[in-house]
Symmetry: C2
């Protein structure tokens, strides 16, 4: 096949400024959603991006689509990270690290947390497309075969866990001095660990001893 135009690429290549704006808008939206959740305003996003609202709408049909685009990016990134985790030797360790990483990644992004926490369907679609489901399934089974993760956990439980975690990371929002997702995560991980298998030698985020 000639390399010239095998695929019917319908994208006429954006004009330079358009491409630039597209990025700026996503970045601004990231900030906006992160700070105010889905309730942030399109005008603000536009202003932050240094463009007019009209331009935002030229790039994304509506608010929801804008968020979706961001979510998709995120999941792609997460999928990459999961793939990396799959390479590591100790699957349980890898799994824990992955969970911690993703929690942290989300901790300062209310927008994402909100989607995952209260609009699971959106996340689900994105997750599927990014191949995240298969990847994390593999990682899980690997950890289970190694006897480090409880055998009765199912792949479908992962989104559930992440959903719960998101709610916690997301709802800090200034109030709730004690809304501490690190602690929550560690408890959750302990619950997922295979019964009897030793605790991790040095869990990154330690739970404080009371008093």
């Amino acid at each position: 096949m000639s390399a010239t135009k095998t695929e019917p690429d319908p994208i006429p290549a954006l004009r330079a400024d358009a491409r630039r704006n597209h990025e700026a808008i996503k970045e601004a939206a990231r900030d906006g959603f992160a700070e105010h959740g889905f309730d942030c305003q399109m005008e603000d996003i536009a202003r932050t991006a240094g463009v007019g609202v009209g331009t935002v709408y030229r790039h994304f049909p509506n608010k929801e689509a804008l968020l979706d685009a961001l979510v998709a990016d995120r999941f792609e990134r997460l999928a990459e990270e999961t793939a990396k985790a799959l390479e590591k030797d100790d699957p349980w360790e890898a799994f824990c690290e992955l969970m911690r990483w993703s929690a942290e990644y989300q901790a300062d992004d209310r927008g994402l947390s909100e989607v995952l926490g209260s609009r699971p369907m959106v996340g689900e679609a994105a997750a599927a497309k990014s191949g995240l489901v298969e990847l994390s399934g593999k990682l899980m089974r690997k950890a289970q075969r190694a006897g480090q993760m409880r055998k009765d956990l199912l792949v479908e439980d992962i989104p559930t866990m992440i959903c719960g975690l998101s709610a916690v990371t997301g709802s800090a929002e200034g109030s709730m001095p004690a809304m501490n997702w690190e602690r929550f995560l560690e408890v959750m991980l302990d619950g997922m660990r295979a019964p009897g298998s030793a605790k991790l030698p040095a869990p990154r985020a330690r739970l404080n001893q009371p008093r």
Copy 2:
């Protein structure tokens, strides 16, 4: 003191119909919030209650206040239940049952879940007023002293856990066939159990074995 009017009761006693409506509205609101979360409409609530919107506003200054009232009721109920749990012999067992009960209680109520999941501050106030904090604190310490609950858990962790749980119970919403809060809860409880202490003999909601 004469029993006639010791306290300066400023409430002139509602008219009979008003009292009736007040209840009807709360009930309608309960349903409304349960089904559509905070996004349900005041008009709908009014219609369901068989009154006009005006009447709703006569009883509750605004939507938020209406929700708050409902939340307060809930927490009071929860506090009662917690007090009962405190009476039981096995504190860990009692704690688990309590968590299961409250999760179930919430499972079919998006409104509540939403408040707890994404507006923690509201819940916090209600929790404080109902005395729930002290009560659950006591229950926790009792379980810890009995060596059944991990010692490094703090009272402040409970709301966090409940917040996570709420997100999961709340976001079922029709989609997500697998969004299974029972499983989530059991994992969480396992994570909270004292290391080494035996598992419960017969956990109510069992995790299915895969395959």
